[in-house]
């Protein structure tokens, strides 16, 4: 294992010190382990809290700030946060309008957020939740834990964050988050595995000429392992899978996201193929993100997320945002 760390067990603690030092707009509570806006909660605004295992930076801490989240709860690497820290973050951002939990659909995340929501309700805090489950690589059936949450988390946090700044109430933000999730789909592909610092070994193995199609953001296997093909062919597989699950039409928001180890030049190669595929199917990209937004440590590969926009969603996407990882219009 070759990593720029001080100790495998202190990666998260050391990184949080760095986050606090780098971003004066954020306050990091290192004992309860949550990240909030430095200015404190906005009176009368629904508080937005997300969280999950670390190793996906900038998700979620990098999206704390005006127009997006109020707080993020980082768990250990690839491990969901515990109820105590979610509860502490929920209390910290509550300002009378209730708190919305944005949760990616993994058993651990769902259970820990659920326990925290029950504890918060005992304190009289109104909490609602949106479970993000946009990954088409996993069949959604009663025989699995359901679809995984991936790139759509970024869209939900941005769009719901904008609505919350404009004064949307708790029920409205929850419904909007659900709508964004329902209109979004993702597909990931891995070229190399990644290594969790505390375990020291790669989470899986991939041959020199192999790719994992439909990989999860923790390196969980996807639909199939296949030979490395051209970016165009791989994009075809990803978009075929998305299109088969949710027929694409009209205006879309597209994110081409690096899993951590894939350079920007390759993301642009992928983006070109995505744009060509979509144009060939009569679908128009009107908004996009290309870069590192929801990573998987140093894994090489990318995820492609598509959201079918409406005029309202476009308006909220364009609304001002000021966070470490996403900022415009302000």
């Amino acid at each position: 294992m070759k990593k720029l760390i001080n100790s495998p067990d202190e990666v998260l603690a050391d990184a949080l010190v760095g986050v606090a030092a780098a971003h004066p707009s954020l306050t990091v509570n290192t004992s309860d382990r949550y990240i909030v806006r430095a200015g404190g909660p906005t009176a009368g605004k629904v508080g937005l809290v997300s969280g999950g295992g670390s190793g996906h930076e900038p998700l979620h801490g990098g999206f704390v700030g005006y127009g997006m989240l109020d707080a993020a709860c980082p768990g250990e690497v690839f491990t969901s946060p515990v109820p105590d820290q979610i509860l502490a973050a929920t209390r910290a951002v509550e300002s009378g309008a209730g708190v919305l939990h944005i949760v990616k659909n993994y058993t651990g995340d769902v259970l820990n957020f659920q326990m925290a929501a029950e504890l918060a309700a005992d304190d009289g805090v109104r909490v609602e939740g949106v479970v993000v489950n946009d990954d088409v690589a996993v069949e959604n059936s009663t025989w699995t834990a359901g679809r995984r949450g991936t790139g759509a988390a970024v869209f939900v946090e941005k769009i719901v964050g904008a609505a919350a700044e404009l004064g949307a109430d708790l029920g409205t933000t929850a419904a909007l988050g659900q709508e964004v999730n329902d209109r979004s789909r993702s597909f990931g592909v891995a070229l190399t595995p990644c290594t969790v610092p505390a375990s020291g070994k790669p989470g899986f193995e991939l041959g020199e000429d192999e790719v994992e199609l439909g990989v999860g953001i923790h390196g969980e296997p996807g639909r199939a392992r296949s030979r490395l093909a051209s970016a165009k062919e791989i994009v075809g597989v990803a978009l075929d899978a998305i299109h088969a699950d949710m027929p694409l039409s009209g205006e879309v928001l597209v994110m081409v996201n690096s899993l951590g180890g894939t350079p920007l030049i390759e993301l642009y190669v992928v983006y070109a193929a995505v744009a060509e595929w979509l144009a060939g199917h009569g679908v128009w990209i009107t908004r996009n993100l290309v870069g590192n937004y929801i990573t998987s440590l140093e894994m090489a590969g990318c995820t492609i997320t598509v959201c079918r926009l409406t005029p309202q969603l476009t308006y909220l996407w364009d609304a001002p945002v000021e966070t470490p990882a996403l900022r415009w219009g302000r």
Binding site: Y106, G108, L111, E139, A145, R148, S199, G219, E220
Partner: protein, 208 residues
């Protein structure tokens, strides 16, 4: 079972998890996300630390404290699941000592809380596949008048059988379920840590 034994049991689990940490993580990397050993180690280390300066009034208090500490320190699905199990077992043992029948009832309450939270059934390739047969074996021994140590050994044997029986199963819950048929042929890490917990119980009470 008494207060001192309950504490020794938790310490024995911590020692077993420490010893098998890499094995648990290795099993988890095959069908999960390679953190089960690390997470369980962090949780039970925290639990033994929490018990060090604690003077519990009942057997249950030891186990409730253990469960609460697991919920606060493990994360993942294992934290809430094991944490709730220990809390439920502890809540059913509000006495300074517990006989075999009382402990059987407490173990049943623990299983019920895990199933309520995780919604898994036997055969889903989860910790339930070790826990349910262990409970059945413990109950059977308790009902036939066996002593605590005999019941605990039967439970540990049944948990290990159940653990091995997860190998041919296809996962239907948790992160392993994403693998579909590719989860077949791998032993479930959660069932494995559950078997460690029951083996630690058997060894603790047998050593007494």
């Amino acid at each position: 079972m008494d207060i001192d034994l309950a504490r020794t049991w938790v310490q024995a689990i911590a020692a077993a998890v420490d010893k098998h940490k890499d094995h648990l993580t290795q099993l988890d990397s095959a069908i999960g996300d390679a953190d089960h050993g690390v997470n369980m180690h962090r949780g039970f280390s925290a639990a033994t630390t929490a018990l060090t300066d604690y003077t519990p009034p009942t057997v249950g208090a030891v186990l409730v404290k253990t469960g609460t500490t697991l919920i606060s320190s493990v994360g993942g699905a294992s934290g809430p699941l094991y944490g709730s199990a220990f809390r439920a077992i502890g809540k059913a043992l509000d006495t300074p000592t517990a006989d075999t029948q009382q402990f059987a009832a407490a173990l049943a309450a623990g299983l019920a809380s895990v199933q309520q939270l995780g919604a898994a059934a036997p055969g889903d390739k989860t910790m339930i596949d070790a826990y349910a047969p262990a409970l059945a074996a413990f109950q059977q021994q308790a009902n036939s008048g066996s002593d605590f140590a005999t019941a605990a050994r039967a439970a540990a044997d049944a948990a290990e059988d159940g653990m091995r029986a997860t190998i041919p199963l296809q996962a239907r819950k948790g992160r392993a379920s994403y693998l579909g048929a590719r989860s077949i042929g791998h032993q479930d890490p959660g069932a494995t840590s559950t078997a460690l917990i029951f083996r630690a119980l058997a060894e603790t009470v047998t050593a007494r």
